[in-house]
């Protein structure tokens, strides 16, 4: 009887230990698999970041160009305004010399 009990106990123990070993192996395998999968995922995300960063850099360059153009247009505006003012002034001067200006009543 005692022999039977001890044999049964040994069998149960072996079964439990086997199950635990299997669990350990499974957990380890899953751990490394998940690590690998995550690495791939992170690489993809990093690639996306690189790409959109490049796009952002391009856009920044374009914005810079736009800003420069904006400044240029401001100076152009000033020059053109000055030119138009001077043109008008000269036109009025010329009209005045020729007494072509309307008299206010």
């Amino acid at each position: 009887m005692a022999f039977l009990i001890s044999t049964t106990m040994i069998m149960i123990l072996i079964a439990v230990i086997s199950a635990l070993v299997a669990a350990i192996v499974y957990l380890n395998v899953r751990f490394y698999k998940e690590k690998k999968m995550f690495k791939v995922k992170v690489e993809t995300l990093q690639q996306i970041i690189v790409e959109i960063s490049q796009k952002q850099n391009g856009q920044l360059g374009q914005i810079k160009l736009s800003d420069e153009l904006h400044k240029k247009m401001k100076s152009v505006n000033a020059i053109l305004s000055d030119d138009v003012f001077k043109l008008n002034y000269e036109l009025f001067e010329m009209l005045d010399q020729n007494n072509l200006l309307k008299k206010q009543s």
Binding site: R30, F31, I52, Q59, Q62, L65
Partner: protein, 690 residues
């Protein structure tokens, strides 16, 4: 069955350098006349071959050694041997010799001799019937031999303790000691061993006492085989007698008779009269068991006619002869044995208890011949002796039962204790196993818990990292969208500005076309507005072109520069323009900001050369090596001293543009030797920007 048992006890064995073995043999004859009635102890001493040899050595020589030798250990040995010699004949002398031996051994610190002396004292005590003292001395001897590792003395002491227990009727204890002695004897070197046959013989006799005849037979056979091997004829006869008794007790009378026949031959051949007579008597008893009365008489006669037969043996044999003649109805032949027996009993009154069956058969004889009074007399004697024996035997049996009961009780207790101990051990072992198993399981569980924790931790860190990355992506995308919207708005604005500038140019051109403007000042003003607006539109288109492309290739840049040069050519026909670009660069891409800055710098440099240098040739070279791209715009004009002259806005702007895109700006110029503007762009910067 008229059977007699005989067993031999070896109580002392001794080795010397000459390998002399002294064996003292107690012959204890236990006569069973039909029924076990009483035990009579007879002391018989006889010696084996070596004993015979030793017997011839005169005690005088031992005395001579004792008186002459100066070596105390030799003297102690000689004294011990001499004392042993006298133990069975002169106990007082033996005691004195042992006392002397003890004094010398203690004085000279002769441990072995002292140990031997203690053992001999035990034998003396046993022989003189002081059993408790004997046991004490044997125990002392055993302790001493064990302490000093005198293994042969240890065997002898254990054997002697076995003898003590046997004498006290503690057969199990005796058997245990004999088996121990046998076991230790087996481990001794051959020259120190006592005879194995003796050990087997003793064990066989103990089994006979315990009525385990099959077991006894096994050991007697072993003893016989060894004695046969050693050619010890006298002892062979003794073993054969014992084997015969065992067969007879197992009701294998024919086998017993066959053995007795061989035994008789050997006893005769070796001159072992004692065993010869015992075997003859036992042979007769075996034949009577087979109802061969006539044949048995011959064997009994052999014993009765032998002068060496002991009185006790003779009484038994006379009784057996009367019984045999009675069975054969030869009453007249039986009568002389009655007279012989009566005379013997008269001469040896201590044999009365052994004469029970003699009187029984004598009574039967007289009844048979019709002498009733004599028959009655002998019958009364028989009944009287039987009663005496019974009372004696009863008390013996009660004592024996008491001893057995106590022994069994102790054995039972011992067995229970042993069982309990074993149970405890088993329980402890089981607990240990369980503890070990639990520990192993705990280790595994901890390992699994750690693995789960590690996995969870990894998952959390992965989630956190993923979240951070996604957040970063979302943030960048949001920024990109915002930037995109801003760019879209800018494009719309620039489109409107372009349209307005075109409207201005168109209006100015219409005014100039519709009116004949004589005023040169006004005409110049209009012309300035028109050309300025056109230049602005060109610049606006260039910028819009750069803004609409994320990337610009050097080929596209080349086309732009060539377009600009063509326009410049139209303006100044005197200047020859040369433009070269490395073929390897044609498909290289750069971000629009870099492309635009390069384009503007080239444009500015060419513009400056046209405007200020008075050059006849302007060259533009774009080359590349592994590390950098080199752009050089040179002219053969007047040149200037870059150290002394102030850098104008144009040069500063060019330098700023190049430094903004991580390039290096350089102006090389000497008066009257032209000007060269070079800038270096690192290839990796260009690549990184892509």
């Amino acid at each position: 069955m008229n059977c007699s048992k005989c067993w031999i006890k070896i109580i002392y064995l001794k080795n010397s350098r000459n390998v002399r073995i002294l064996l003292h043999l107690f012959g204890e004859m236990n006569a069973f006349m039909k029924k076990k009635q009483f035990f009579v102890f007879l002391m018989l001493c006889f010696f084996t071959k070596s004993i015979c040899h030793s017997q011839t050595i005169s005690t005088d020589s031992l005395y001579a050694v004792i008186s002459k030798t100066k070596n105390d250990s030799v003297r102690v040995k000689a004294l011990n041997k001499l004392a042993f010699h006298y133990i069975f004949s002169d106990a007082k002398k033996a005691r004195n010799l042992l006392n002397t031996s003890r004094k010398i051994a203690l004085k000279s610190n002769c441990i072995f001799g002292y140990n031997e002396m203690v053992n001999n004292t035990g034998i003396l005590m046993d022989v003189t019937g002081i059993r408790d003292s004997a046991k004490y001395f044997f125990t002392q001897s055993l302790q001493l031999s064990r302490k000093n590792k005198f293994r042969n003395l240890e065997v002898k002491s254990i054997n002697n303790l076995g003898m003590c227990h046997w004498n006290e009727g503690h057969f199990n204890e005796a058997l245990r000691f004999f088996l121990d002695a046998l076991r230790i004897n087996e481990m001794l070197p051959k020259d120190q061993q006592i005879k194995f046959a003796t050990c087997y013989n003793n064990i066989g006799l103990i089994y006979q006492e315990l009525e385990l005849n099959e077991k006894a037979l096994e050991f007697h056979k072993k003893a016989y085989e060894l004695r046969k091997k050693d050619n010890m004829l006298k002892d062979q006869a003794s073993s054969l007698n014992n084997i015969g008794i065992c067969y007879n007790s197992l009701n294998q009378t024919q086998k017993a008779i066959d053995i007795y026949k061989i035994g008789l031959e050997i006893a005769k051949q070796s001159g072992n009269t004692t065993d010869y007579l015992k075997i003859q008597e036992n042979y007769g008893n075996a034949l009577q068991s087979q109802r061969k009365y006539r044949e048995s008489i011959a064997h009994y006669d052999e014993v009765s006619e032998n002068p060496n037969s002991s009185p006790k043996m003779l009484i038994g044999v006379y009784g057996s002869l009367i019984a045999a003649h009675n069975k054969l109805n030869e009453t007249q032949k039986a009568l002389p044995y009655v007279n012989k027996g009566l005379n013997l009993i008269k001469g040896n009154p201590d044999l009365r208890l052994s004469s029970q069956h003699f009187y029984q058969y004598a009574a039967q004889l007289y009844y048979k011949i019709g002498d009733i009074p004599k028959g009655e007399t002998y019958n009364r004697e028989f009944i009287g002796i039987t009663n005496d024996i019974f009372s004696d035997e009863n008390s013996r049996q009660i004592a024996d039962y008491e001893i057995r009961y106590q022994t069994e009780k102790k054995e039972k207790q011992l067995a229970e204790n042993k069982a309990k101990l074993l149970e405890n051990q088993a329980e402890a072992l089981q607990k240990n196993y369980i503890l070990t198993a639990i520990s192993v399981l705990m280790v595994f569980v901890i390992a699994i818990a750690y693995l789960i924790f590690r996995q969870q931790k990894l998952k959390n860190s992965q989630l956190e990292q993923e979240h951070k990355l996604k957040t970063a992506i979302a943030r960048i995308e949001t920024q990109n969208e915002l930037q995109q919207q801003r760019l879209n708005i800018s494009r719309d604005l620039h489109d409107n500005i372009g349209a307005q500038l075109t409207f201005i140019i168109s209006s100015v051109e219409n005014i100039k076309y519709a009116f004949d403007i004589q005023n040169p000042k006004l005409d110049d003003r209009l012309q300035h507005i028109s050309s300025f607006t056109k230049a602005t539109i060109v610049e606006l288109r260039d910028t819009i072109w750069a803004m609409n492309n994320n990337e610009i290739t050097f080929d596209e840049l080349r086309a732009r520069v060539l377009n600009f040069i063509d326009k410049a050519k139209d303006a100044t026909e005197k200047i020859e323009f040369k433009f070269k670009i490395d073929e390897a660069l044609k498909n290289k891409k750069m971000v629009s900001l870099v492309g635009m800055n390069i384009y503007r710098t080239i444009q500015e440099a060419i513009h400056n050369a046209i405007k200020y240098s008075g050059a006849t040739e302007i060259t533009t070279d774009i080359t590349a090596n592994e590390n950098q791209i080199l752009v050089c715009i040179g002219d053969n004009g007047t040149g200037f001293d870059p150290q002394n002259s102030d850098k104008g806005n144009g040069l500063r702007n060019m330098q700023k543009r190049i430094e903004d895109i991580d390039g290096k700006f350089e102006v090389r110029s000497d008066e009257n030797s032209g000007t060269t503007i070079c800038f270096y762009l690192p290839s990796n910067t260009l690549n990184e920007s892509l």
